[in-house]
Amino acid sequence: MPATGGASLTSSTPDALWSAPSLRVLRPSAVSCTDLRRGRELDRCTLSVPVGGRLLVVSEPDTTASTLLRVLAGLSRADRGEVRIAGSTDPTATGWGRRMAYLGPESGLHSWMTPLEALHLAAGLLGLSHDERARRIDRALRWTGITPAMTERAVSRGGPELEQRTGLASVLIAEPEVLLLDEPLRAIEATERAGLLRIPGRRLTILLASRDPASELGLVAHVAYLRNGRVELIAPVGDLDQAGLPLSHAGIAELAALKAAERRLRRADPE
Protein backbone atom coordinates (compact mmCIF):
# COMPACT_ATOMS: atom_id res chain seq x y z
CA MET A 1 0.00 0.00 0.00
CA PRO A 2 1.01 3.62 0.14
CA ALA A 3 4.57 4.52 0.90
CA THR A 4 6.10 7.87 1.57
CA GLY A 5 8.91 9.11 -0.57
CA GLY A 6 10.87 7.10 -3.08
CA ALA A 7 9.98 6.43 -6.67
CA SER A 8 6.39 5.72 -7.49
CA LEU A 9 5.13 3.88 -10.51
CA THR A 10 2.57 5.94 -12.34
CA SER A 11 0.55 5.44 -15.46
CA SER A 12 -1.72 7.52 -17.61
CA THR A 13 -2.97 4.60 -19.66
CA PRO A 14 -6.25 3.52 -18.22
CA ASP A 15 -8.39 0.54 -19.09
CA ALA A 16 -6.20 -1.78 -21.15
CA LEU A 17 -3.21 -1.28 -18.94
CA TRP A 18 -4.99 -1.73 -15.62
CA SER A 19 -6.10 -5.19 -16.63
CA ALA A 20 -2.55 -6.36 -17.36
CA PRO A 21 -1.62 -8.97 -14.71
CA SER A 22 1.85 -7.52 -14.15
CA LEU A 23 0.45 -4.10 -13.27
CA ARG A 24 -2.15 -5.57 -10.98
CA VAL A 25 0.76 -6.88 -8.99
CA LEU A 26 2.77 -3.65 -9.20
CA ARG A 27 -0.24 -1.46 -8.43
CA PRO A 28 0.51 1.82 -10.22
CA SER A 29 0.12 5.03 -8.33
CA ALA A 30 -3.17 6.87 -8.72
CA VAL A 31 -2.15 9.90 -6.71
CA SER A 32 1.34 11.00 -5.91
CA CYS A 33 2.78 14.25 -4.72
CA THR A 34 6.40 15.05 -4.24
CA ASP A 35 7.93 17.70 -2.00
CA LEU A 36 4.79 19.79 -1.81
CA ARG A 37 5.25 23.07 0.00
CA ARG A 38 2.65 25.66 0.82
CA GLY A 39 3.34 28.33 3.40
CA ARG A 40 3.51 26.75 6.83
CA GLU A 41 0.84 24.18 6.02
CA LEU A 42 2.75 21.79 3.78
CA ASP A 43 6.45 21.20 4.13
CA ARG A 44 8.02 18.83 1.59
CA CYS A 45 4.93 16.64 1.78
CA THR A 46 5.43 13.45 -0.22
CA LEU A 47 2.76 10.82 -0.65
CA SER A 48 1.87 8.05 -3.07
CA VAL A 49 -1.44 6.21 -3.17
CA PRO A 50 -1.87 3.20 -5.46
CA VAL A 51 -4.87 2.59 -7.66
CA GLY A 52 -7.83 1.41 -5.65
CA GLY A 53 -6.39 2.66 -2.36
CA ARG A 54 -8.74 4.13 0.23
CA LEU A 55 -6.76 6.42 2.46
CA LEU A 56 -7.85 8.41 5.48
CA VAL A 57 -5.83 11.60 5.86
CA VAL A 58 -5.59 12.99 9.38
CA SER A 59 -3.36 15.87 10.38
CA GLU A 60 -2.00 18.01 13.12
CA PRO A 61 -3.09 20.81 12.81
CA ASP A 62 -6.46 19.71 11.46
CA THR A 63 -6.44 22.06 8.47
CA THR A 64 -3.37 20.49 6.85
CA ALA A 65 -5.25 17.43 5.59
CA SER A 66 -7.83 19.67 3.89
CA THR A 67 -5.09 21.82 2.42
CA LEU A 68 -3.37 18.76 0.97
CA LEU A 69 -6.56 17.60 -0.70
CA ARG A 70 -7.28 21.10 -2.02
CA VAL A 71 -3.79 21.29 -3.49
CA LEU A 72 -4.23 17.86 -5.08
CA ALA A 73 -7.55 19.03 -6.54
CA GLY A 74 -5.97 22.20 -7.94
CA LEU A 75 -8.11 24.48 -5.77
CA SER A 76 -5.14 25.79 -3.80
CA ARG A 77 -1.73 26.35 -5.26
CA ALA A 78 1.41 24.80 -3.88
CA ASP A 79 4.49 26.99 -3.63
CA ARG A 80 6.61 24.09 -4.82
CA GLY A 81 6.40 20.41 -5.59
CA GLU A 82 4.72 18.18 -8.08
CA VAL A 83 1.29 16.60 -8.16
CA ARG A 84 0.72 13.60 -10.37
CA ILE A 85 -2.70 12.06 -10.75
CA ALA A 86 -3.24 8.94 -12.84
CA GLY A 87 0.27 9.43 -14.13
CA SER A 88 -0.31 12.93 -15.44
CA THR A 89 0.86 16.30 -14.18
CA ASP A 90 -1.55 18.12 -16.50
CA PRO A 91 -4.62 19.34 -14.56
CA THR A 92 -6.65 20.25 -17.67
CA ALA A 93 -9.46 18.19 -19.14
CA THR A 94 -7.00 16.43 -21.43
CA GLY A 95 -4.82 15.52 -18.44
CA TRP A 96 -6.27 14.36 -15.14
CA GLY A 97 -8.95 17.07 -14.96
CA ARG A 98 -11.79 14.70 -15.77
CA ARG A 99 -10.38 11.69 -13.98
CA MET A 100 -10.37 13.30 -10.57
CA ALA A 101 -13.27 14.70 -8.56
CA TYR A 102 -13.36 16.70 -5.34
CA LEU A 103 -16.08 17.05 -2.75
CA GLY A 104 -15.48 19.46 0.10
CA PRO A 105 -17.42 20.62 3.14
CA GLU A 106 -19.13 23.21 0.90
CA SER A 107 -20.98 21.70 -2.03
CA GLY A 108 -20.07 24.66 -4.27
CA LEU A 109 -23.57 24.66 -5.75
CA HIS A 110 -25.64 27.78 -6.27
CA SER A 111 -28.42 27.76 -3.69
CA TRP A 112 -31.07 28.39 -6.35
CA MET A 113 -30.13 25.30 -8.34
CA THR A 114 -32.28 22.21 -8.19
CA PRO A 115 -30.48 18.85 -7.97
CA LEU A 116 -31.56 18.08 -11.52
CA GLU A 117 -30.16 21.37 -12.82
CA ALA A 118 -26.86 20.80 -11.04
CA LEU A 119 -26.55 17.28 -12.40
CA HIS A 120 -27.44 18.30 -15.95
CA LEU A 121 -24.86 21.08 -15.73
CA ALA A 122 -22.21 18.68 -14.42
CA ALA A 123 -23.05 16.15 -17.14
CA GLY A 124 -23.12 18.85 -19.81
CA LEU A 125 -19.64 20.01 -18.87
CA LEU A 126 -18.43 16.45 -19.36
CA GLY A 127 -19.84 16.51 -22.88
CA LEU A 128 -21.84 13.33 -22.38
CA SER A 129 -24.32 12.06 -24.93
CA HIS A 130 -28.01 12.34 -24.10
CA ASP A 131 -28.41 8.68 -23.21
CA GLU A 132 -25.22 8.51 -21.19
CA ARG A 133 -26.20 11.67 -19.36
CA ALA A 134 -29.60 10.21 -18.46
CA ARG A 135 -28.02 6.94 -17.32
CA ARG A 136 -25.44 8.60 -15.08
CA ILE A 137 -27.89 11.10 -13.60
CA ASP A 138 -30.36 8.33 -12.79
CA ARG A 139 -27.60 6.27 -11.18
CA ALA A 140 -26.25 9.20 -9.15
CA LEU A 141 -29.74 10.15 -7.94
CA ARG A 142 -30.43 6.60 -6.82
CA TRP A 143 -27.08 6.24 -5.05
CA THR A 144 -27.48 9.51 -3.16
CA GLY A 145 -31.10 8.88 -2.25
CA ILE A 146 -32.47 11.99 -3.92
CA THR A 147 -36.11 11.21 -4.56
CA PRO A 148 -37.98 12.48 -7.65
CA ALA A 149 -39.85 14.95 -5.42
CA MET A 150 -36.56 16.47 -4.33
CA THR A 151 -35.05 16.80 -7.79
CA GLU A 152 -37.07 19.89 -8.68
CA ARG A 153 -36.58 21.63 -5.35
CA ALA A 154 -33.92 24.35 -4.99
CA VAL A 155 -31.09 22.99 -2.85
CA SER A 156 -31.49 25.94 -0.48
CA ARG A 157 -35.05 24.80 0.24
CA GLY A 158 -34.01 21.23 0.84
CA GLY A 159 -31.52 22.21 3.52
CA PRO A 160 -27.84 21.28 3.85
CA GLU A 161 -28.65 17.57 3.58
CA LEU A 162 -30.08 17.91 0.07
CA GLU A 163 -27.25 20.24 -0.88
CA GLN A 164 -24.63 17.72 0.21
CA ARG A 165 -26.40 14.80 -1.46
CA THR A 166 -26.52 16.84 -4.67
CA GLY A 167 -22.84 17.70 -4.28
CA LEU A 168 -21.98 14.00 -4.04
CA ALA A 169 -24.23 13.14 -6.98
CA SER A 170 -22.59 15.80 -9.15
CA VAL A 171 -19.21 14.28 -8.31
CA LEU A 172 -20.28 10.71 -9.04
CA ILE A 173 -21.62 11.69 -12.46
CA ALA A 174 -18.05 12.10 -13.66
CA GLU A 175 -17.28 8.47 -12.70
CA PRO A 176 -13.85 9.59 -11.51
CA GLU A 177 -10.83 7.37 -11.02
CA VAL A 178 -9.66 9.46 -8.07
CA LEU A 179 -12.04 10.91 -5.51
CA LEU A 180 -10.86 13.52 -3.03
CA LEU A 181 -13.26 13.87 -0.11
CA ASP A 182 -12.68 16.70 2.34
CA GLU A 183 -14.97 16.46 5.38
CA PRO A 184 -17.83 15.34 3.13
CA LEU A 185 -21.53 14.94 3.93
CA ARG A 186 -21.37 16.09 7.55
CA ALA A 187 -25.01 17.18 7.45
CA ILE A 188 -26.14 13.59 6.85
CA GLU A 189 -26.82 11.11 9.64
CA ALA A 190 -23.71 9.01 10.41
CA THR A 191 -24.93 5.56 9.32
CA GLU A 192 -26.43 6.82 6.10
CA ARG A 193 -23.34 8.94 5.46
CA ALA A 194 -21.14 5.89 5.78
CA GLY A 195 -23.38 4.05 3.29
CA LEU A 196 -23.18 6.91 0.80
CA LEU A 197 -19.40 7.09 1.04
CA ARG A 198 -18.94 3.35 0.57
CA ILE A 199 -18.66 3.92 -3.17
CA PRO A 200 -18.01 0.74 -5.13
CA GLY A 201 -15.22 0.32 -7.68
CA ARG A 202 -11.98 -1.63 -7.39
CA ARG A 203 -10.10 0.94 -9.42
CA LEU A 204 -11.55 3.92 -7.57
CA THR A 205 -8.97 5.61 -5.38
CA ILE A 206 -10.29 7.63 -2.46
CA LEU A 207 -8.48 10.11 -0.23
CA LEU A 208 -10.63 11.18 2.69
CA ALA A 209 -9.59 14.09 4.90
CA SER A 210 -11.29 13.97 8.27
CA ARG A 211 -11.17 15.65 11.66
CA ASP A 212 -13.23 12.85 13.12
CA PRO A 213 -11.46 9.61 12.12
CA ALA A 214 -13.78 7.41 14.20
CA SER A 215 -16.66 8.31 11.88
CA GLU A 216 -14.75 6.92 8.91
CA LEU A 217 -14.52 3.37 10.25
CA GLY A 218 -15.08 0.84 7.46
CA LEU A 219 -14.60 3.40 4.71
CA VAL A 220 -10.83 3.29 4.47
CA ALA A 221 -8.14 0.64 4.44
CA HIS A 222 -5.16 2.81 5.31
CA VAL A 223 -4.52 5.89 7.32
CA ALA A 224 -2.04 8.73 6.76
CA TYR A 225 -0.95 11.08 9.50
CA LEU A 226 0.49 14.47 8.65
CA ARG A 227 2.25 16.55 11.25
CA ASN A 228 3.71 19.98 10.68
CA GLY A 229 3.03 19.64 6.97
CA ARG A 230 4.83 16.31 6.48
CA VAL A 231 3.63 12.75 6.16
CA GLU A 232 4.64 11.04 9.36
CA LEU A 233 2.76 7.78 9.02
CA ILE A 234 1.04 5.67 6.43
CA ALA A 235 -0.24 2.39 7.77
CA PRO A 236 -3.08 -0.10 7.35
CA VAL A 237 -6.02 0.59 9.64
CA GLY A 238 -5.42 -2.92 11.01
CA ASP A 239 -2.18 -1.69 12.61
CA LEU A 240 -4.26 0.39 15.00
CA ASP A 241 -6.14 -2.72 16.11
CA GLN A 242 -2.91 -4.64 16.54
CA ALA A 243 -1.51 -1.87 18.71
CA GLY A 244 -4.77 -1.73 20.66
CA LEU A 245 -5.38 1.85 19.57
CA PRO A 246 -8.70 3.35 18.50
CA LEU A 247 -9.33 4.93 15.09
CA SER A 248 -9.14 8.41 16.50
CA HIS A 249 -6.89 11.41 16.16
CA ALA A 250 -5.05 10.52 19.37
CA GLY A 251 -4.83 6.84 18.40
CA ILE A 252 -3.34 7.62 15.00
CA ALA A 253 -0.88 10.09 16.52
CA GLU A 254 0.18 7.47 19.04
CA LEU A 255 0.65 4.86 16.31
CA ALA A 256 2.81 7.36 14.42
CA ALA A 257 4.90 7.86 17.54
CA LEU A 258 5.22 4.06 18.05
CA LYS A 259 6.29 3.49 14.44
CA ALA A 260 8.80 6.34 14.68
CA ALA A 261 10.25 4.81 17.84
CA GLU A 262 10.47 1.41 16.10
CA ARG A 263 12.30 3.00 13.18
CA ARG A 264 14.73 4.71 15.55
CA LEU A 265 15.38 1.44 17.34
CA ARG A 266 15.95 -0.39 14.07
CA ARG A 267 18.37 2.28 12.94
CA ALA A 268 20.25 2.16 16.24
CA ASP A 269 20.42 -1.64 16.31
CA PRO A 270 20.02 -3.17 12.82
CA GLU A 271 20.41 -6.73 14.24
Binding site: S107, G108, H110, L121, A122, L125, L126, S170
Partner: protein, 228 residues
Amino acid sequence: MSQTRVVVGLAMRELWISFRLLLLLTGYVAVGAAAALLPASLPAILVRLAIGASAAMIVGAAIAAWSMSRDRVLGRSGWLATRSISRGTILAGWFVALVLVSVLGLAAVGLLGWLAASTASPLLDPVAFGAMFGAIACGSLALLALGLLFGAILRPQAATTAAVAASALIIAGAWFALPRVALPVEALVHLSRLPAPISVAVQGGGASLAFAALLVVLARAALERADL
Protein backbone atom coordinates in the same frame (compact mmCIF):
# COMPACT_ATOMS: atom_id res chain seq x y z
CA MET B 1 -21.39 23.33 -24.39
CA SER B 2 -19.27 26.52 -24.44
CA GLN B 3 -17.62 26.90 -21.06
CA THR B 4 -17.64 30.70 -21.16
CA ARG B 5 -21.34 30.67 -21.99
CA VAL B 6 -21.98 28.36 -19.05
CA VAL B 7 -20.18 30.71 -16.65
CA VAL B 8 -21.92 33.78 -18.12
CA GLY B 9 -25.29 32.05 -17.73
CA LEU B 10 -24.58 31.07 -14.12
CA ALA B 11 -23.31 34.56 -13.32
CA MET B 12 -26.34 36.24 -14.88
CA ARG B 13 -28.73 33.99 -13.00
CA GLU B 14 -26.86 34.52 -9.75
CA LEU B 15 -26.97 38.31 -10.31
CA TRP B 16 -30.68 38.14 -11.07
CA ILE B 17 -31.69 35.94 -8.14
CA SER B 18 -29.57 37.88 -5.63
CA PHE B 19 -31.06 41.20 -6.84
CA ARG B 20 -27.57 42.47 -7.73
CA LEU B 21 -28.58 42.77 -11.38
CA LEU B 22 -31.64 44.77 -10.37
CA LEU B 23 -29.57 46.97 -8.07
CA LEU B 24 -27.11 47.81 -10.82
CA LEU B 25 -29.76 48.42 -13.48
CA THR B 26 -31.88 50.45 -11.05
CA GLY B 27 -28.85 52.56 -10.20
CA TYR B 28 -28.23 53.41 -13.83
CA VAL B 29 -31.89 53.97 -14.71
CA ALA B 30 -32.39 56.15 -11.62
CA VAL B 31 -29.56 58.40 -12.81
CA GLY B 32 -31.14 58.72 -16.25
CA ALA B 33 -34.60 59.26 -14.78
CA ALA B 34 -33.31 61.97 -12.45
CA ALA B 35 -31.81 63.78 -15.43
CA ALA B 36 -34.87 63.31 -17.62
CA LEU B 37 -37.61 64.08 -15.11
CA LEU B 38 -36.13 67.02 -13.20
CA PRO B 39 -36.15 70.12 -15.42
CA ALA B 40 -32.81 71.91 -15.56
CA SER B 41 -30.39 73.72 -17.87
CA LEU B 42 -28.06 71.70 -20.13
CA PRO B 43 -24.94 72.16 -17.91
CA ALA B 44 -26.91 71.03 -14.85
CA ILE B 45 -28.26 67.98 -16.70
CA LEU B 46 -24.75 67.01 -17.84
CA VAL B 47 -23.34 67.40 -14.32
CA ARG B 48 -26.15 65.22 -12.94
CA LEU B 49 -25.54 62.58 -15.59
CA ALA B 50 -21.79 62.56 -14.98
CA ILE B 51 -22.05 62.30 -11.20
CA GLY B 52 -24.85 59.75 -11.39
CA ALA B 53 -23.04 57.57 -13.94
CA SER B 54 -19.88 57.71 -11.81
CA ALA B 55 -21.83 56.58 -8.75
CA ALA B 56 -23.47 53.76 -10.70
CA MET B 57 -20.08 52.65 -12.04
CA ILE B 58 -18.73 52.52 -8.48
CA VAL B 59 -21.73 50.36 -7.53
CA GLY B 60 -20.83 48.14 -10.50
CA ALA B 61 -17.25 47.76 -9.23
CA ALA B 62 -18.56 46.88 -5.76
CA ILE B 63 -20.92 44.25 -7.19
CA ALA B 64 -18.09 42.79 -9.29
CA ALA B 65 -15.82 42.53 -6.23
CA TRP B 66 -18.51 41.01 -4.02
CA SER B 67 -19.61 38.53 -6.67
CA MET B 68 -16.15 37.21 -7.52
CA SER B 69 -15.06 36.99 -3.90
CA ARG B 70 -18.26 35.35 -2.70
CA ASP B 71 -18.12 32.80 -5.50
CA ARG B 72 -14.63 31.87 -4.39
CA VAL B 73 -15.44 31.71 -0.70
CA LEU B 74 -18.55 29.56 -1.20
CA GLY B 75 -16.66 27.12 -3.41
CA ARG B 76 -18.69 27.86 -6.54
CA SER B 77 -15.62 28.79 -8.56
CA GLY B 78 -14.00 25.65 -7.17
CA TRP B 79 -16.96 23.55 -8.33
CA LEU B 80 -16.38 24.83 -11.86
CA ALA B 81 -12.60 24.56 -11.64
CA THR B 82 -12.78 20.90 -10.64
CA ARG B 83 -14.84 20.35 -13.76
CA SER B 84 -12.00 21.48 -15.98
CA ILE B 85 -13.21 25.05 -16.41
CA SER B 86 -10.11 27.21 -16.28
CA ARG B 87 -9.78 30.09 -13.86
CA GLY B 88 -9.43 32.42 -16.83
CA THR B 89 -12.79 31.26 -18.17
CA ILE B 90 -14.41 31.83 -14.77
CA LEU B 91 -13.05 35.38 -14.72
CA ALA B 92 -14.07 35.98 -18.33
CA GLY B 93 -17.59 34.69 -17.64
CA TRP B 94 -18.12 37.06 -14.73
CA PHE B 95 -16.61 39.96 -16.65
CA VAL B 96 -18.88 39.41 -19.67
CA ALA B 97 -21.99 39.08 -17.47
CA LEU B 98 -21.23 42.26 -15.56
CA VAL B 99 -20.33 44.14 -18.76
CA LEU B 100 -23.63 43.13 -20.37
CA VAL B 101 -25.61 44.47 -17.41
CA SER B 102 -23.55 47.66 -17.14
CA VAL B 103 -23.74 48.42 -20.87
CA LEU B 104 -27.49 47.88 -20.76
CA GLY B 105 -27.73 50.25 -17.80
CA LEU B 106 -25.52 52.85 -19.46
CA ALA B 107 -27.57 52.62 -22.65
CA ALA B 108 -30.67 53.42 -20.58
CA VAL B 109 -28.92 56.36 -18.91
CA GLY B 110 -27.69 57.60 -22.27
CA LEU B 111 -31.15 57.40 -23.82
CA LEU B 112 -32.89 59.13 -20.92
CA GLY B 113 -30.04 61.64 -20.66
CA TRP B 114 -30.26 62.40 -24.37
CA LEU B 115 -34.01 63.00 -24.10
CA ALA B 116 -33.39 65.49 -21.30
CA ALA B 117 -30.30 67.13 -22.82
CA SER B 118 -31.69 67.49 -26.35
CA THR B 119 -34.82 69.14 -24.93
CA ALA B 120 -32.70 71.61 -22.97
CA SER B 121 -30.42 72.35 -25.95
CA PRO B 122 -31.53 71.27 -29.42
CA LEU B 123 -28.05 72.12 -30.79
CA LEU B 124 -26.33 69.32 -28.88
CA ASP B 125 -24.59 66.90 -31.27
CA PRO B 126 -26.13 63.41 -30.90
CA VAL B 127 -23.00 61.71 -32.28
CA ALA B 128 -20.75 63.48 -29.75
CA PHE B 129 -23.20 62.64 -26.96
CA GLY B 130 -23.30 58.98 -28.01
CA ALA B 131 -19.52 58.83 -28.36
CA MET B 132 -19.10 60.25 -24.87
CA PHE B 133 -21.40 57.60 -23.44
CA GLY B 134 -19.44 54.96 -25.34
CA ALA B 135 -16.29 56.27 -23.64
CA ILE B 136 -18.03 56.18 -20.26
CA ALA B 137 -18.99 52.56 -20.96
CA CYS B 138 -15.30 51.81 -21.59
CA GLY B 139 -14.53 53.43 -18.23
CA SER B 140 -17.13 51.22 -16.56
CA LEU B 141 -15.30 48.15 -17.94
CA ALA B 142 -12.15 49.31 -16.19
CA LEU B 143 -13.95 49.69 -12.87
CA LEU B 144 -15.61 46.27 -13.25
CA ALA B 145 -12.18 44.76 -13.89
CA LEU B 146 -10.88 46.55 -10.81
CA GLY B 147 -13.72 45.04 -8.76
CA LEU B 148 -12.93 41.56 -10.10
CA LEU B 149 -9.27 42.05 -9.22
CA PHE B 150 -10.14 42.81 -5.60
CA GLY B 151 -12.65 39.95 -5.60
CA ALA B 152 -9.91 37.56 -6.69
CA ILE B 153 -7.65 38.37 -3.76
CA LEU B 154 -9.81 39.53 -0.84
CA ARG B 155 -12.76 38.23 1.13
CA PRO B 156 -16.20 39.65 0.17
CA GLN B 157 -16.49 42.57 2.57
CA ALA B 158 -12.89 43.66 2.20
CA ALA B 159 -13.07 43.29 -1.58
CA THR B 160 -16.23 45.39 -1.81
CA THR B 161 -14.84 48.11 0.43
CA ALA B 162 -11.57 48.19 -1.48
CA ALA B 163 -13.38 48.32 -4.84
CA VAL B 164 -15.57 51.23 -3.73
CA ALA B 165 -12.65 53.15 -2.26
CA ALA B 166 -10.32 52.57 -5.21
CA SER B 167 -12.99 53.37 -7.83
CA ALA B 168 -13.99 56.58 -6.04
CA LEU B 169 -10.35 57.52 -5.70
CA ILE B 170 -9.64 56.92 -9.38
CA ILE B 171 -12.64 58.96 -10.55
CA ALA B 172 -12.16 61.78 -8.05
CA GLY B 173 -8.41 61.80 -8.55
CA ALA B 174 -8.59 62.01 -12.31
CA TRP B 175 -11.44 64.52 -12.18
CA PHE B 176 -10.04 66.94 -9.63
CA ALA B 177 -6.31 66.32 -9.32
CA LEU B 178 -5.40 65.85 -12.98
CA PRO B 179 -6.82 68.84 -14.87
CA ARG B 180 -5.08 67.91 -18.13
CA VAL B 181 -6.59 64.42 -18.21
CA ALA B 182 -10.17 64.32 -19.51
CA LEU B 183 -11.92 61.41 -17.84
CA PRO B 184 -15.00 60.46 -19.95
CA VAL B 185 -17.43 61.38 -17.13
CA GLU B 186 -15.59 64.66 -16.65
CA ALA B 187 -15.63 65.35 -20.40
CA LEU B 188 -19.39 64.78 -20.39
CA VAL B 189 -19.81 67.77 -18.08
CA HIS B 190 -17.98 69.99 -20.58
CA LEU B 191 -19.54 68.37 -23.65
CA SER B 192 -21.27 71.48 -24.99
CA ARG B 193 -18.04 73.51 -24.72
CA LEU B 194 -15.54 70.98 -26.11
CA PRO B 195 -14.08 71.99 -29.52
CA ALA B 196 -13.63 68.35 -30.66
CA PRO B 197 -15.85 66.20 -28.41
CA ILE B 198 -15.62 63.03 -30.51
CA SER B 199 -11.83 63.13 -30.42
CA VAL B 200 -11.91 63.56 -26.63
CA ALA B 201 -14.37 60.67 -26.33
CA VAL B 202 -12.22 58.38 -28.48
CA GLN B 203 -9.13 59.25 -26.46
CA GLY B 204 -10.93 58.72 -23.16
CA GLY B 205 -12.47 55.47 -24.36
CA GLY B 206 -9.15 54.17 -25.64
CA ALA B 207 -7.33 55.00 -22.42
CA SER B 208 -10.12 53.39 -20.39
CA LEU B 209 -10.00 50.22 -22.50
CA ALA B 210 -6.24 49.99 -22.10
CA PHE B 211 -6.64 50.40 -18.32
CA ALA B 212 -9.42 47.79 -18.32
CA ALA B 213 -7.22 45.35 -20.24
CA LEU B 214 -4.37 45.83 -17.78
CA LEU B 215 -6.70 45.24 -14.83
CA VAL B 216 -8.18 42.12 -16.42
CA VAL B 217 -4.68 40.72 -16.91
CA LEU B 218 -3.85 41.49 -13.28
CA ALA B 219 -7.13 39.94 -12.10
CA ARG B 220 -6.38 36.83 -14.17
CA ALA B 221 -2.93 36.54 -12.62
CA ALA B 222 -4.38 37.06 -9.13
CA LEU B 223 -7.09 34.45 -9.66
CA GLU B 224 -4.53 31.93 -10.90
CA ARG B 225 -2.85 32.09 -7.47
CA ALA B 226 -6.04 32.41 -5.42
CA ASP B 227 -7.71 29.70 -3.35
CA LEU B 228 -10.98 28.61 -4.91
